[in-house]
């Protein structure tokens, strides 16, 4: 199947969004307390698909919920029974608007671990049933370095339909997957009021990308970093770099690629629920064994685990970096630690010193 490009204007796109929202289960960034989070919307007024990247939470919770119920059970003196297990009700197609490219890439990266051996069918099903409309940034944020990582940001196929701003209020829509192609074609066939024309002229999109790529403050050579980090497991630089971390775990909770979770039981009287919810490797209790042994007792060890997992371990295992360069961790960090600065600093230290 070939993928196509369309051109429209702001009004046309908004009409299209409204039509989508009225017909489909739609999620988009909704502002609360100055932070945007992806929530179900019933009209375009509630949300802002062009939300600023620095203030937008990751889209990951729509695919990998912050906490999901594994099962509900009853344990009484008469016996134990599992009352219900979590059945994902998602069957109808849903649409997510305004996903940042780095965020969508995060989902693609997570597919690797979720497809590995035991298949996380819920995650894959959710992704399959979702059409992702992206919003390509026009300008890089202070902490962004998405162009420096191992994926082609310009032609990213982790999202279904790329929305790109052109000159003079023109907006380009480009399908990137079969799912997106089918969805958009169907929408366009049904109505002509979106001002949409098919086009082959991608020069403006290219221009927008070049301008966007030029606006980055942070650039790095990820291959170099991967190689150098792999050799620096024993580097004392980790200790130095982790000193001002307050172990608050924010970075892991808002990261689009972090996928560690904990399994916990909660009960009232005889009825209990087992949840799977996010956890962070920066937490002291993360690896603490019941017997008292902790393989990563010191803060720098936990820091090392986090940065090495992102740039070395995941790459070794699945061939991609577990970082998409969105900069969310640096933005949310209360003490402004940037993982970019840290890994670059560690990679620049001499081996074994």
């Amino acid at each position: 199947m070939s993928f196509s490009t369309f051109v429209t204007d702001k009004a046309g796109l908004q009409k299209m969004y409204e039509a989508i929202i009225s017909k489909h289960e739609t999620y988009a960034p909704v502002e609360k307390f100055g932070k945007y989070d992806y929530k179900k919307v019933s009209s375009l007024k509630e949300c802002d698909p062009d939300s600023p990247i620095a203030e937008t939470m990751s889209v990951k919770p729509l695919f990998f919920p912050r906490s999901s119920k594994i099962m509900k059970y009853e344990a009484t003196s008469a016996g134990t029974s599992i009352l219900e297990t979590d059945q994902d009700p998602l069957t109808a197609q849903r649409v997510v608007l305004g996903v940042k490219h780095c965020d969508a890439r995060g989902l693609q990266v997570l597919e690797a671990v979720n497809k590995w051996d035991y298949i996380d069918s819920d995650f894959l099903k959710r992704r399959e049933n979702t059409v992702i409309f992206s919003a390509r940034c026009d300008k890089a944020g202070t902490h962004c370095f998405c162009t420096s990582l191992d994926y082609d940001l310009e032609n990213l196929d982790a999202l279904d339909i790329a929305v790109v701003n052109g000159a003079e209020g023109k907006i380009y829509l480009q399908t990137r997957t079969e799912r997106g192609e089918t969805f958009l074609k169907e929408k366009l066939e049904k109505s002509t009021m979106y001002n949409v024309q098919s086009t082959n002229d991608e020069s403006e999109m290219k221009k927008q990308y070049v301008a966007f790529a030029a606006s980055f403050r942070l650039k790095m050579d990820y291959k170099d970093i991967n190689e150098k980090m792999a050799k620096r497991f024993d580097s004392p630089a980790f200790e130095e770099a982790s000193r001002n971390c307050v172990s608050c775990n924010t970075c892991a909770f808002i990261c689009p690629t972090c996928h560690c979770f904990k399994i916990s039981d909660e009960k009232i009287k005889d009825t209990g629920v087992r949840y799977k919810s996010y956890d962070s490797c920066n937490n002291v209790y993360f690896t603490l064994e019941a017997g008292g042994h902790n393989p990563r007792p010191a803060k720098y060890r936990r820091w090392r685990q986090r940065s090495m997992h992102k740039f070395v371990y995941y790459k070794e295992r699945f061939g991609v970096n577990l970082c998409v360069g969105c900069g969310h961790c640096a933005i949310s960090c209360p003490v402004n630690i940037s993982i970019f600065d840290v890994v670059n600093h560690i990679a620049s230290t001499p081996v074994g010193s």
């Binding site: 999901s68 119920k69 594994i70 099962m71 059970y73 344990a75 016996g79 134990t80 029974s81 599992i82 297990t85 979590d86 994902d88 671990v113 979720n114 590995w116 051996d117 035991y118 996380d120 069918s121 819920d122 995650f123 497991f233 996928h259 560690c260 979770f261 904990k262 399994i263 916990s264 039981d265 009960k267 005889d270 209990g272 087992r274 799977k276 956890d279 490797c281 993360f286 690896t287 603490l288 064994e289 019941a290 017997g291 042994h293 393989p295 990563r296 060890r301 685990q305 090495m308 997992h309 070395v312 371990y313 995941y314 070794e316 295992r317």
Partner: protein
């Protein structure tokens, strides 16, 4: 994913008080279809949940060659294990997921002399392999079990050890850390007994060891001294695990996931891992 994390119910058939703080739970699945699907090899582990309390990882301490049941030996250590000890009675239901992880390299050890070195509750994973090997005794040559515990009361599987002792084809060496009045066997820590009493044959021998981290550390050193090649020394690791599926990101050492690539490793493989266990 969530479906993979739902346990099947099993019934506690028998509880054996091994030592003051270790109990063995003999389990049978309530559903026959689960029993049929549930097959494991020595070294694998299960996720054992006491519904209403939590989930823990335990190795299966019996062999699949003994059909119809499986054992988990549980030492009281944390919140959930304390609940397991105090709440579970014979006939109660528990949740079981698994089996997960890899197993002892059964093909590699075929036709070799076997030396089992266990300490404390570390005999549990070895017991699974010992039972398996006893049931397939013809495949293996000399058979030595060295087992150490802190005191004579802390010796697990006392009845079974007596059985092994009666079996003339098995050499059993027991030791405790400090002398006791009624104790007639060896006294001393495991590495010392290994070098001074057992004096194992090096050639054509595989060593399988498991125990507390400090014992493992010194046993590996003394095996090195005796001249065992690292690839002939097999051990099982433990890390905190929660999912057992390689997803929750808790048990990795470097890019190796203990729950998927382990828990059984040779000393050679262990040496290649970063020092984080």
């Amino acid at each position: 994913m969530e479906a993979l994390l739902v346990p099947s119910l099993a019934k506690v058939d028998r509880i054996i008080q091994e030592t003051p703080d270790v109990r063995t739970y003999r389990l049978k699945f309530k559903d026959d279809s689960v029993t049929e699907k549930f097959s494991w090899l020595p070294g694998q582990f299960v996720e054992f949940s006491l519904l209403g309390s939590g989930e823990c990882t335990f190795c299966i301490s019996s062999s699949a060659t003994r059909k119809g049941y499986f054992d988990c030996s549980i030492k009281r250590a944390g919140v959930v294990t304390a609940d397991i000890h105090s709440d579970i009675e014979e006939g109660d239901d528990v949740g079981i997921r698994g089996p997960y992880g890899n197993y002892f390299p059964l093909d590699d050890i075929k036709g070799k002399n076997l030396l089992f070195v266990g300490g404390g509750i570390g005999l549990a994973p070895l017991r699974s392999l010992i039972q398996y090997c006893i049931d397939n005794r013809g495949d293996y040559k000399d058979f030595t079990i060295l087992y150490g515990a802190r005191t004579s009361a802390d010796i697990c599987y006392k009845e079974e050890i007596e059985e092994w002792k009666k079996n003339t084809s098995i050499k059993v060496v027991l030791t405790i850390d400090k002398p006791e009045d009624t104790w007639k066997d060896n006294v001393g820590v495991v590495p010392k007994i290994l070098e001074e009493v057992v004096k194992p044959e090096i050639a054509n021998t595989k060593v399988i060891t498991c125990g507390p981290p400090i014992m493992i550390k010194y046993t590996l050193q003394s095996l090195d001294r005796l001249g065992f090649a690292p690839k002939d020394v097999i051990t099982t690791l433990e890390m905190k695990m929660q999912c057992g599926l390689g997803k929750c990101g808790r048990c990795n050492i470097g890019s190796t996931y203990i729950c998927k690539d382990g828990p059984v490793f040779t000393y050679e493989q262990l040496k290649a891992l970063p020092d984080e266990f």
